[in-house]
Symmetry: D2
Subunit: 166 residues, 4 copies
């Protein structure tokens, strides 16, 4: 079984038609899994719904705790792309002093285009992240653009909008 | 690098608006990879564009040859779901007498809903299959519904429209 | 108030993922009107769900009756494109002996691509037909491709997939 | 022939995936008309690409000029919904001193959801506005939610996100 920790990010941005701005409401994860006809046994846990640029250390501590405390040993974290690498580093850092957390496989993923748009990369990334989470050995990874990276061997190229190896 | 062998299937069915029927034209794989912002190094090779119910032994032999002869050792085959298991068995059978083929990782995938429809599972499955193909050891697999199965441990449940373990 | 008579056609074709074919289930009209944020006062009446190539005189008689008997004087008929002109002629023919029917504005419309596909012309045509139905004088019309035609001054060009003036 | 004056608004908002915000690039009008299989003879003229909340009197003067100076007597203006009524009033006001402008049919329309999202009301509204523009007599109108209103008999209900009669 896989735990999916939801933190928001572009993945879950939606268009507020009354105010004319992007905002967060409920997560789209259940309908994305339904659209993908997923039969992976998952447990979805929304932790927060926010832009990753607004995340503080306290938010990251909550994500780390979510990874450490859940019963599952395989975890997908949906996350804004801008600070995804920072959160991955925080989880990996905490793993050094937490043998249980260190034994888990944690895969962070996100999207460049909101799922609520017709043309999102979110469904592709979700299929990819769920698959990597099932087969990769213990460790903290980022799954974007169909690829996976160990947490300390990747950076987001903000000009190109892609993740690339360090 | 991953070789993608295209054989058609629901993945690539499109709506012929002049005749009002489902048909095949060109593969949607390139635009699906673009939509997914994929940065996986792939080589797309269309072998045939057909409904898998119409496949003969000759078609399957051609797919086996495509897997055996390509330079890549990691392969994704897009395929209709109805006889996907049969083709997987044909590839696995040929592997017994072909050491090179036996050393490869072959992942078959498909879709229940055409990609050209707005609500396809195809993008999810493609992200999943490409990911499994990068990390699974040698063997022939089916990647559907976010899961992966060894070729001889799966069947399509036609009533439910899902793949399930034997 | 506008009566919407639903007869099927490409408008309402959907993809049967278990059998892998196009089929009819329930009409998409309510969700199309919701998507369009329509505030037009309508009453939706499904008469049949069929390909217009399969329509017989009996089916057309039922559509004529639906137009004649409803309380509304402004009517939109959703219809397959292949025999839309024939049904329009049947309604116009019946109008000659039915003063009530002759006093009504009837607009037939349809789609070249099923609404269930992401890229349908259906929503455009529905917005167009509902608008023409509100302002055109009594008569029987076809609204397709953003245009409107009197029933006896139009034909479907099947090679091009468009409606054009006679 | 119909002139389409493009001014931006939610209709044409797009998602900037590098910066993660809504922005304007080129108008989607040509691809919307293509999606709708429109065969209406139109001439598309982008005047500005902006949020209607940012429009000044100078912008409105430019739209009035665009309506007055074009050769066509039937005009559709795509416009943000928040100040659509103000611009309609500006055009109607200028008509009092411009006999040519007063002889034209001008229909303003917009969208609550960006077309670039999969679930926009834009295509419905465009089909509606183009249709009203072909058949309504001289005057300045707003076409939203499948309805049409004379410019001085409508207001936007910002809480509900709909246009309603005064």
């Amino acid at each position: 079984m896989i735990r999916i920790l939801v933190t928001g990010g572009t993945f879950d941005k939606t268009y507020d038609e009354i105010r004319g701005v992007l905002s967060f409401r409920e997560t789209h994860l259940p309908q994305m899994l339904q659209l993908g006809r997923s039969r992976v046994d998952v447990s979805i846990q929304p932790l927060m719904m926010m832009d990753s640029l607004d995340m503080t250390d306290a938010h990251r501590a909550r994500i780390v705790r979510g990874c450490a405390e859940c019963a599952e040993s395989r975890i997908v974290v949906t996350h804004g792309t801008d600070t995804m690498v920072d959160t991955a580093a925080a989880i990996a850092g905490a793993s050094r002093q937490d043998a249980v957390l260190a034994s888990k496989t944690v895969v962070l993923t996100g999207a460049m285009i909101p799922y609520a748009f017709g043309s999102s990369d979110g469904l592709f990334n979700l299929g990819s992240a769920l698959s990597f989470a099932q087969v990769l050995p213990r460790g903290v990874y980022i799954a974007m653009n169909g690829q996976h990276f160990e947490w300390d061997k990747v950076r987001k190229n903000r000009d190109a909008g892609v993740f690339e190896p360090l």
